[in-house]
Symmetry: C2
Subunit: 500 residues, 2 copies
């Protein structure tokens, strides 16, 4: 019988080889989004495909399966080793459910679909994308069947993004916030409007860039283990916990475009940099889930970055950097300006409140598509109707409406809800951090983020994927997800800001 | 029987998968040399090792061997297909000669050796590297035995860098230039010294960078299929012929450091960009040899970039960019300054003449090590004696002497000679280009490089690896390598410059 030590050794070697391939592919993707000149795109796509295919091939190797079966029954494993084996086995069993033929069909469909989504956006006409969306929905239904589920087929896809998430959980979660948020929005719309025009002046790029860098360094983002570059769509990407990169974009005529996107991405990056390097390639070296990842970016972006304390520290710095633009803006006006609520069409530009309407609409559409209540061709009308219902705004065209997000064209269904879950977890976690360390808010006003960061390292980062989102939430806050904290936070905040 | 069409299809798929891995590894290396923050180095090394190992594994797959055996005997192949199969089969047979155990021993030895070379440089003491060099030499002797050779064991290693190169060829080549170059150097040293101090003034980095970019764009380097970045040691790297990158370094107190290194690297890059993209992953999509690659960089750097015509066009531009530094420098003084001959210790900073003494010394040492005429511990004394003999200069220490180059620590033996061969081929090719198109020199003076570039595309680039260095030379110039052209070029040039 192979010794447990040898089993672990072989397991690590196999997993690290797969990680090497995945992270190499990530380097190629980072390069593609930042520095790759246009003519290099074609072969780059092929190179990434080869790396992805090999990683998949090594992860579905039957020999790995046997090793995992043997390992989970060993009695001389540490808790960490046992958990790694369990999680890898779960992933392995899941992967085995996909036949190579299905993987190929899905890959071909998303490839075609992505191109037609680009075309549809260019033509500003959903019809060019409708057939592909139907095909993808059918493939996703097939995927749900392959994966297996209880209750709603959507559960299989939700579970894939956030283990344990179900339609029941999400529907009750969204129900719990829908009316309160609608009420809150009504109150805000009845209050005195906020003037945030000072944010939309000319802010030179270089100064913005320098400020953004300072902000993320202050947060504790380790520039020796990461770097920031410009990309069209900001993202965070990891090549190991010792090499985690962020990107941002700069709009010379809108300060907010960059600043809070920098903080958001650095929130993701702090999490990745905080994952244990000695678990490279293993589940305990990975983030807990999509929604916990998002909880980190949202916690920093909103609870820290849009707080009055944050403004106290950074407004004077901004005023020094941009005296003409901000010299005469008061702390209160600045704080109110960056927190202005305004129903709008584009999810990625939405405020903290209306953001969740954008997500709920996508959630409802995904659910309806998967149960065939609607077909792809019905999406634009359904979408526009929902925007009218939730925010009382009339979507002018498909590009501003149901064609705005890339996710569906990539075959991503069940992803959007994690954005909202992340916000709700963020509120619940942040409240606990403040309870544990009431000094945090004053420290933020002094430009000190270490207590908060250390708390996050201890409570979230170092566990890796040990706990599911709900388990982690329970461990941290003593209860499962409770939107009460999010709602309290928002009501408090907007009451202060809108004086209602 | 498998149809030839299917054989070719399978061959291409296998080779392209290997290329995808190698080029992915190249992306990771490029990133490591340009943008990787320090803490990311460890896992990056592991990722590159995994990609390299997989590429090696796929290339030594017995199924590929059988395919190649079957393919070379097919009679319904195009000339190009046949040549691809032949060359791949040669490579395959060569790779098969290395046992996995040998590959591992060599890889471990170079890994350790590289670290000790770094240490030896830091301590400025060759002794820290001597044992490793002995180990590597023994491994290289073993490699020569595995590869097989006629005559000298060095032939096996030379052949690996430049098919067909032998000690006989190189020794007679070097013999043919040794005395003439020594005589030439003597004449130069007796002539009025050249003042090149105007090159060693302060040249602001940004302006140098912009000028360097203009120069390589003018040469025809396609920025849509490449880019330039800063690296400690300039290099060219390819991820496909549609993605070829160059790097440079800038010394604010020495204009020449950057300018001719930009031209040199762009010379390499033009070759890579000119390789046929439809032969991606196949021998006909690769460069002919190390020495032909170097012929391209040297042709541009020396024959074009250090010509009077080049100065005619670029000096006025430089004077506009750097009026204080160059405003009063005459065309003749500029031309003379950038061509100053001066015996020195560092190969990479040497002029066109003394450069080859540096190479000859390394060639002689490699040869002597491989036949055990000397041992590693004898290298410093041998080295210093040769520098005294060839250039009449006294090497002050090991760092400035035998520890300056990284090559041996990487296990590279047989590489240095290709630098000189490249120069000699460059002279022979450029002479032919001028014979074919006498307008080239005037065009250079007008900042036009297209005739030359088109000639190179036609005569060199598009063949890929179809011909060996000597075959290509014969095809282009009607004879094999003949150092006469190089010597004529140098004598003419320095006669004009030093007025002897």
């Amino acid at each position: 019988m192979t010794s447990t030590k040898d089993l672990i050794q072989e397991y690590k070697e196999r997993m690290q080889k797969i990680a090497d391939l995945k992270f190499s592919s990530a380097v190629l993707q980072w390069d593609q989004e930042t520095y790759l000149p246009p003519k290099g795109a074609e072969f780059r796509g092929q190179q990434i495909a080869t790396l992805t295919e090999l990683a998949h091939q090594f992860f579905t190797d039957k020999a790995l399966g046997s090793l995992l079966e043997e390992a989970v029954n060993r009695t001389d494993l540490t808790v960490g080793e046992k958990r790694n084996f369990e999680l890898t086995r779960e992933d392995f069993i899941k992967q085995q459910k996909f036949t190579p033929a299905f993987v190929r069909r899905l890959s071909e469909a998303t490839h075609r679909s992505f191109h037609n989504w680009i075309k549809a956006r260019k033509e500003n006409n959903f019809k060019f994308f409708a057939d592909d969306l139907d095909t993808l929905v059918n493939l996703k239904i097939e995927e749900a069947e392959l994966l297996g589920y209880e209750g709603h087929p959507y559960n299989a896809l939700l579970n894939d993004h956030d283990k344990g998430a179900t339609v029941d959980l999400l529907s009750s979660t969204f129900t719990s916030i829908k009316e309160p948020l609608k009420d809150l929005l009504k109150k805000i719309q009845q209050a005195e409007p906020i003037d945030d025009s000072f944010l939309k002046q000319n802010y030179p790029k270089d100064n913005q860039w320098q400020f953004g860098l300072q902000v993320i360094k202050d947060m504790g983002y380790d520039m020796e283990a990461g770097r920031q570059d410009i990309a069209e769509h900001p993202f965070t990407i990891s090549f190991s916990s010792t090499a985690v990169r962020v990107t941002t974009r700069i709009d010379e005529n809108d300060l907010s475009n960059m600043v809070w996107s920098c903080i958001h991405e650095a929130g993701h990056a702090l999490y990745e940099q905080g994952l244990p390097a000695d678990q490279y390639g293993l589940p305990l070296g990975e983030a807990a889930s999509f929604s916990i990842h998002e909880s980190q970016s949202r916690l920093w972006e909103n609870h820290v970055g849009r707080s009055l304390s944050w403004c106290k520290f950074y407004l004077p710095i901004l005023q020094k950097e941009f005296p003409k633009q901000l010299g005469s803006v008061s702390l209160e006006d600045f704080y109110r300006g960056i927190n202005k609520v305004h129903p709008s069409f584009i999810r990625t530009e939405a405020d903290e409140l209306t953001y969740h309407f954008h997500v709920m609409i996508r959630y409802e559409i995904e659910k309806a598509l998967l149960t065939k209540e609607i077909k792809a061709i019905d999406v634009p009308a359904y979408w526009n109707e929902k925007y009218l219902e939730y925010m009382n705004i009339t979507v002018p065209d498909d590009k501003t409406g149901c064609l705005q997000d890339v996710h569906w064209s990539h075959g991503s269904f069940g992803y959007f809800p994690t954005y909202s879950l992340g916000s709700f977890y963020a509120a619940q976690f942040y409240r606990k951090a403040i309870l544990d360390h009431p000094s945090i808010e004053q420290e933020i006003a002094d430009g000190q983020f270490n207590t908060l960061l250390e708390w996050l390292k201890k409570e979230v980062f170092h566990y890796g994927r040990k706990y599911s989102s709900e388990e982690l939430c329970l461990k941290i806050s003593g209860e499962g997800l409770n939107t009460r904290y999010f709602l309290e936070y928002l009501f408090d905040k907007y009451q202060n800001i809108y004086h209602f």
